[in-house]
């Protein structure tokens, strides 16, 4: 798709006309999701679904090819002694590690997600961000996790942020684009809603809460606001957009609460790895321990599950 074709499809919305967010209402709604009773049989299904939605992630300055290969092994062999487990959705790494991940994963249906655009700060010229993205795609990434320029967004330069996402989207080619809003730096839920709309109108395939480098990372509140934005965008345009909360979701119970929220906000159509992901590193092990607990009735120890 040429740039002009892209621009004609996507148009910057009038952010002043976006509905404001009722924070008290959001908090109460979130509290409700956490009080649903989940029966054991549903729990096991939910746990497996969560596993299949995980983007197994390592984004550290100390990442080495060895560490990435190890992570890929973990993605392929989650816990072989439990039969019938799904594999994770993707492995998420830095652009320089995409080649290593591709070789390690081979042709197993596990996607390679790469962060790009001067992750995590996004403070770099557009040309650098575009090169970053093109390189990751050329090395074999099928998903790109970009960060928006929060500074520009907060300064009110919406057009600039919009154009940037548009340009990155074009650089992605066939790769899916996830747009990280870094909600921990946006301040209010109203801004989260605005940024979500902006990203979706600029062509994001997924919107994602956080880089994981800033606290707070994903919370149920911001995720709910983003899910509502996706719902309204779908109603207006008919285009489905995916959601990825990332950072801070380390326990199965919390992940199940997210699934409840997803089901009750967007419905069954979104309950697949194609439309919902968890960005997490330690969640997978907790889910595995819970699955084993459900099967044996015995509480598990981290000692018996591989790290990363």
């Amino acid at each position: 798709m040429s740039l002009s074709a892209v621009t004609s499809t996507f148009k910057l919305p009038d952010l002043s006309r976006i509905p404001t967010v009722d924070e008290v209402g959001i908090n109460e709604r979130v509290a409700r999701f956490q009080s649903r009773s989940i029966k054991s049989a549903s729990k096991v299904e939910a746990l497996k679904l969560i596993l299949s939605m995980i983007d197994l992630t390592t984004l550290e300055g100390q990442d080495t090819p060895g560490k990435v290969r190890q992570l890929c092994q973990k993605a392929i062999h989650l816990h072989d002694s439990i039969p019938g487990l799904p594999h994770v959705a993707a492995v998420c790494v830095y652009p320089t590690m995409v080649k290593v991940a591709k070789k390690a994963l081979g042709d197993r249906g596990i996607n390679i997600a790469s962060v790009a655009t001067a992750f995590p700060s996004g403070q770099a010229p557009l040309s650098v961000k575009l090169d970053d993205t093109r390189m990751a795609v050329a090395e074999g990434a099928n998903e790109i996790d970009m960060v928006i320029s929060r500074g520009e967004f907060l300064a009110g330069n919406y057009g600039m942020v919009f154009d940037e996402i548009l340009a990155i989207k074009e650089a992605c080619g066939d790769a899916h684009l996830k747009v990280i809003l870094e909600t921990g730096e946006l301040g209010t839920l109203d801004r989260v809603r605005q940024a979500s709309e902006l990203a979706m109108h600029a062509g994001a395939d997924f919107i994602k809460t956080s880089t994981g480098k800033i606290q707070p990372a994903a919370t149920m509140q911001v995720t709910l606001v983003m899910l509502q934005a996706i719902r309204d965008y779908f109603a207006a345009t008919g285009r489905m957009v995916g959601m990825k909360p990332a950072g801070g979701i380390a326990h199965s119970k919390l992940a199940i609460h997210y699934l409840v929220m997803l089901r009750e906000t967007l419905g069954n159509a979104w309950m697949t790895p194609q439309w919902f992901r968890f960005g997490a590193s330690s969640l997978a092990n907790d889910v595995l321990m819970q699955i084993r607990k459900q099967a044996t009735g015995v509480y598990q120890s981290a000692d018996y599950f591989s790290k990363d």
Binding site: G297, V298, Y299, Q300, D303
Partner: protein, 294 residues
């Protein structure tokens, strides 16, 4: 329980809520179940939390989180903190005597039990920086190696406390476990749980890091299986068991090869029940072979 003021007007009774102790906090049981503790006349003294397996799981998570840091604390500091528990207990001596009496213990016996508990804490506080020297060794070997063995804490210890000795028995099992750098989860005596909960309040005020000691109350028959089978428990101290439960505990404990320590028919009020081998019970021996030139 209602006090009478000088004018004869009755004050409303302010009864204490006995809660459990997990990760340095005092939650109620997540199960919202309780059992009534009665005195010998059948009057209700207190409603005691009937902890569930989930409370136990939460306690183990807290203990696991605290254990590594506690083991890293210097022996000197661990001794100081144990001594601090003794000091705090001394300051609340009367409260503990009164609670023992509420549970049917005679005044003199109650006083003796509280005093013995304080002394026992001091005893184990003293061992903090000594057991390592006593139990470690340099071993003669027939090769060119410097060979030595030192102790390391077993990890997370689950304690089914003695039934008859509600305070002294509990402390006599907790103190040697934590002085050696373990973290523990203890289930208090079912018929004498009051002092266990008050002891948790003492721990809370004694610089013991949150999660190092966790105290639950509830039905032993309900929780023994969980104590024995949890994969993240490294040792189980099992007081006053019968033969049949013994067997079940050992079988369940075998899954992750927990250390099983059976302590039965011990008179905890007797000084002969205190010895450093109780500390060594929850220690693992690490032997190092270090090559040396000839």
């Amino acid at each position: 329980m209602a006090n009478t003021t000088k004018k004869g007007a009755k004050r409303l009774a302010v009864a204490k809520t006995y809660k459990i102790f997990i990760g340095g906090q005092f939650p109620r049981t997540e199960s919202a179940r309780y059992y009534a503790l009665e005195d010998k006349h059948g009057a209700v003294i207190a409603n005691i939390c009937r902890s569930s397996r989930k409370d136990f799981r939460n306690a183990i998570v807290a203990a696991r989180g605290a254990q590594a840091g506690w083991a890293k604390a210097s022996a000197y500091l661990r001794g100081q903190i144990l001594y601090r528990i003794a000091e705090m207990l001394e300051g609340r001596r009367e409260q503990f005597v009164a609670e023992l009496k509420l549970q049917g213990v005679a005044q003199r016996t109650a006083e003796k039990e509280v005093d013995a508990t304080i002394d026992r804490l001091v005893y184990f506080a003293g061992w903090a920086d000594k057991y390592q020297q006593v139990f470690s060794s340099v071993n003669p070997v027939a090769s060119a190696h410097f060979n030595f063995s030192v102790l390391e804490p077993t990890g997370v210890v689950a304690i089914l406390a003695p039934e008859k000795s509600g305070l002294l028995g509990l402390v006599s099992n907790i103190a040697p476990a934590i002085v050696g750098g373990n973290a523990c989860v203890a289930l208090a005596s079912e018929s004498k749980p009051l002092c266990a909960v008050s002891f948790a309040e003492v721990l809370h005020a004694s610089d013991v890091p949150a999660g190092v000691v966790n105290i639950l109350t509830g039905y032993r028959s309900e929780l023994t299986g969980q104590f024995a089978s949890h994969m993240d428990v490294n040792a189980i101290i099992y007081c006053d068991g019968d033969r049949q439960t013994d067997r079940a505990v050992q079988i369940a404990a075998a899954d992750n090869i927990k250390r099983v320590l059976r302590r039965t028919d011990i008179d905890w009020s007797n000084d002969s029940s205190q010895h450093p081998y109780l500390v060594r019970d929850t220690q693992e021996v690490k032997t190092t072979w270090h090559p040396i030139g000839t």
